[in-house]
Symmetry: C2
Subunit: 233 residues, 2 copies
Amino acid sequence: MEEPVLTRREITRNRTLDEIRQHAEEQVKAGGVEAISLNAIAKSMGMSGPAIYRYFASRDELVADLIARGYLQLARSLGEASESHVDEGPDRQLAAVARAYREWALANPHRFSMFYAVRSESHADLEAAIAASQGSMDLLLDLLSRITPGTDPDTTSGTGELDDALEHWRVLRDVPDTYSPLVLRLALLTWTRLHGIVTLELAGVFEDMEIDAGLLCDAEIQTIVEIAGSRPA
Amino acid sequence: MEEPVLTRREITRNRTLDEIRQHAEEQVKAGGVEAISLNAIAKSMGMSGPAIYRYFASRDELVADLIARGYLQLARSLGEASESHVDEGPDRQLAAVARAYREWALANPHRFSMFYAVRSESHADLEAAIAASQGSMDLLLDLLSRITPGTDPDTTSGTGELDDALEHWRVLRDVPDTYSPLVLRLALLTWTRLHGIVTLELAGVFEDMEIDAGLLCDAEIQTIVEIAGSRPA
DNA sequence: TCAGTTTTGTTAGAAGATATCACAATTTTT
DNA sequence: AAAAATTGTGATATCTTCTAACAAAACTGA
């Protein structure tokens, strides 16, 4: 019998950690981040208040943990949406990713707004979150580059201030220069446009307007696909 | 001496209310909604804790009040931005309104995210907020309709699902049918696209990317102005 | 096997939050 | 001047996060 990587203690510890996370996520789903109560979690798990501080040093640390894990989960959903439509072409994949983004947000409204809240000093350094969103950006870049017909860097290189900024970002992120400025711009616009619709939808704006935000999302994605699909010349 | 509309008591009461609001807004600016403490406000005003409940029945009521007032303030900023560029044409006015939206959010990040937070049951009925955002929508509709060259309802009427939904909204809101479906759609897209950029900027996304979100906003507004300005059929 | 160390739990308590209650002081009204 | 409405007070209940001191349990190595 080969020695296990995790000791018995680590296993039970991880189980407790997961149980805490599960309770916390239920509280977030019910009433948002501010509904999290370390005390209540501990008691509902059968242990007394301070015991939970053996697992999370502070409330903020638990929140940061939830945010990081939520980010990864959302990113995984997007990847799965893309892969499940891989035989329908990149344009349909992009549409599926967009729908997955919106549906994840609608299914987990409080968790979604949790990691897009105004960044406070406490959990300003969520490297895992940044890495996850960058992974999703890579997904968008890949799909969009496969939609654009001729990805000739010379003919599609822009000269505007925005394109310069996008080029700076590309170099910063070590994105290969096979991605044209158009693709970079469209990937970013896919995110921002979708995000705007979804956040306003969560705020209840479209409810008041009696408008189906899904139609708006579809229209935006269609617009982006059309721009990507047309010859950039 | 004619009888004043406000009694002496109402005047002092309003003064106290404003002082409470001022302290609360400072707390929000510093650390977001959750940083509001009725107790701390009361004590910093020289009165003891429970006294503040003579002015606001609960913490949520104070928050709702701040949200409603913030909405009105933002809407006023947008209106002022439009009027201060009235002699430069509707396209420049629209750009100014967009910049004002972003700048207000950047100047008041926590207040901005406060009234675009996930709608909870407690302050779900913010009629003032809805009215304010509708006023801003009217502003966008007016500017965009003046950018579109020929506002012929017959030639610009759409047939898609989205246009049907927009038409439903137009009727619901009693918006005059001189606004074409194109204008309705562009007004909504102006809001959603701008909102997406601004909220992601507040979350620190572009900071990590080292991208100036102002360039993105300008590009989006330019795109919308170009679509509005081109002949629709 | 058994002592020593680490980990994990406990209770007690500080400091602060929202919110209610009973009561006092003040101000307006009659 | 008396009555009523308003605005303040302190006491209190109940919640929160989080620290401190201490006890029990579980692993570790000789």
